[in-house]
Structures are given as C-alpha cells and as structure tokens.
Amino acid sequence: MSFYNSQAVLIVAAILFVLGLIGVLTRKNIIFILISIEVMLNAAGLAFVAAGSRWGQPDGQVMFLFILAMAASEVSVGLALVMQTYHQHKTLDAEKLRALRD
C-alpha cells in the first residue's frame, strides 16, 4: 500500500534542513537566526523519526525526544541572551555583535 519510501522522507528532511541553513546564513537578525536553527533541529528530528520508522524501532523517537529537550533548553538560554544583548547593545544585528573577534 505504500507508495512512498524512506528516500522521500529523508529528502524532505534534507530540504527542510537546507532551508534552515539558508536562513541562518542569510539573516542578520538574531531572532531569525534562532528561528532558522529551530527549523534545522526539527529537520534533524524528522530524519531520526523517519529512520526509526523505517526499521520499526523506537530509537528514532527517543532521539527525537532528546532533540526536543536540547531545543527547549537552547531556546530558553538563547532568548535570555537575546534579551540581555538587546538591553545592553540596543541592537539585534548579529554582524554588529562582534566583540569576540580577534
């Protein structure tokens, strides 16, 4: 009954991942960068779930749960940093926040 196969799912995941990557690369606003990172994480999760589903094993879903936990903590810390950055530098331009350059 299945017309679609594992390749199709993985290709969707790859497309989503690359779209997120483009977002990270082209945007200057930190908020947009964070959003794009979320897209990428989600795409990675999709690939995991697809792999788990391909072999009928729960491991893929377990990995997705870990990605979820990681994304949640990343977003909370990231947003706290964004707020502090905005309060201190009055800008969200990632290109201007270059204090770490050598």
Binding site: M1, S2, F3, Y4, N5, S6, Q7, A8, L10, V12, A14, L16, V18, L19, L21, I22, G23, L25, T26, R27, N29, I31, F32, I35, E38, V39, N42, G45, L46, V49, G52, S53, R54, G56, Q57, P58, D59, G60, Q61, V62, F64, L68, A69, M70, A71, A72, S73, E74, V75, S76, V77, L79, A80, V82, M83, Q84, Y86, H87, L92, D93
Partner: protein, 191 residues
C-alpha cells in the same frame, strides 16, 4: 497515507520557505507554526503519533510561543521589518543560498544512492518508546535532565535584570548631591 505524507511535506516546505523569507518576525513565526504542524502530520503518517503530539505541544505550543513572547517584549515592530528588508538584499543571500543548494544536491544524490525501502506505517507503541527511553537510554535521559536544569538555571540567571542597589551611604550621597544641585538652581533663579 501517502497522500497525507506528500501534502504535509509540500506544506512544510512551502511554509519553511515563507519562514526564511519573511521580514516581520511574527509572520515568520506564524509560518513556522504551520511548518511544525505539517511536520507533525508527517510524523503521524510515519506511524509516530506520540512524537507528533509532542511536536505540537513542545515546538508549536511552547518554544514558538516563547519566541513570540520575546519578540513582543522587545517590541520588534514595523521598524524591524523595514530593517530586515534593507538587510535582505540579493547580493547578501544569493551566495550562501547557492552554497546551501550545492549541499542539498549533494545530499539528495547521496540519499538516492542509498537503500530504498518502503516505510512501515505500523505505529511504534508509546510503551516501547518509553521502555527503551528508560532502559538503554537511561544515561542519556539523565543527561537530558541535566541539560534542561542547566537551561532553566542559565536562562533565569542570564535573563535577570540587574538592579542597581546603591548602598545606603551612597544613596545619601546621591541625595546630598541632588539637594546641592537644587540649591544651586534655586540660587541662580533667585539671582
């Protein structure tokens, strides 16, 4: 089921394209919600209802609300949108996009070379997921717990507004200084 998968895939990809091309953060986030909901549908079609629901609850329901919340608190409005418009010139995005597309094409070629099996759509029981979560992955689970704890503490600490607490002597000094200023102003006015 294939229909469900293909429809939601197309929606997911389109919505994600919209996400990365919007100027206004809230609009981007709304499209991101759509994208996540579509991915949740993909999960459902892959026989993983549990993670589908978690995707909705946590990604769409918590993480993105958090992002929207911050956007609202920072009051990023139309100014941000115009700024984004200025930043997003073709010369800025064409190079990286082409590079990313190269990556995509390579990945697709590699994926096409790989094994091509039909998906099993028999759902994986939640019970199985939980059992393997608490058996083989128990260490990883605990580490994830640490990570979340660190995330909470880190966010609470970083996000804290640093209040300036003047020592009471300094406060008095400040008051004295202000009083002096006031007196000077009064004198000049009187003169």
């Amino acid at each position: 089921m294939p229909l469900l998968f293909y429809t939601s895939s197309v929606i997911a990809i389109l919505a994600t394209i919209m996400v990365i091309t919007r100027y206004h953060p809230i609009h981007a986030l709304l499209y991101l919600v759509v994208s996540f909901l579509a991915v949740a549908m993909i999960f459902l079609s892959l026989g993983a209802p549990f993670v589908a629901v978690l995707e909705v609850i946590l990604y769409a329901g918590a993480i993105i609300v958090l992002l929207i919340f911050v956007v609202m608190m920072l009051n990023l409005g139309t100014d941000t949108a115009t700024q984004e418009k200025q930043w997003l010139q073709p010369k800025v995005w064409i190079g990286p996009s082409l590079l990313a597309l190269v990556l995509l094409s390579e990945m697709v070629i590699l994926l096409m070379q790989g094994d091509n099996a039909d998906m099993q759509v028999t759902p994986v029981e939640i019970k199985q997921v939980s059992i393997s979560l608490y058996k083989e992955y128990i260490i990883a689970l605990e580490l994830a717990g640490f990570l979340l704890m660190a995330g909470i503490v880190g966010a609470a600490h970083i996000g804290k507004h640093k209040k300036k607490h003047l020592h009471r002597f300094l406060q008095e000094e400040n008051l004295d200084a202000e009083n002096k200023k006031m007196k000077q102003v009064e004198e000049t006015v009187n003169n």
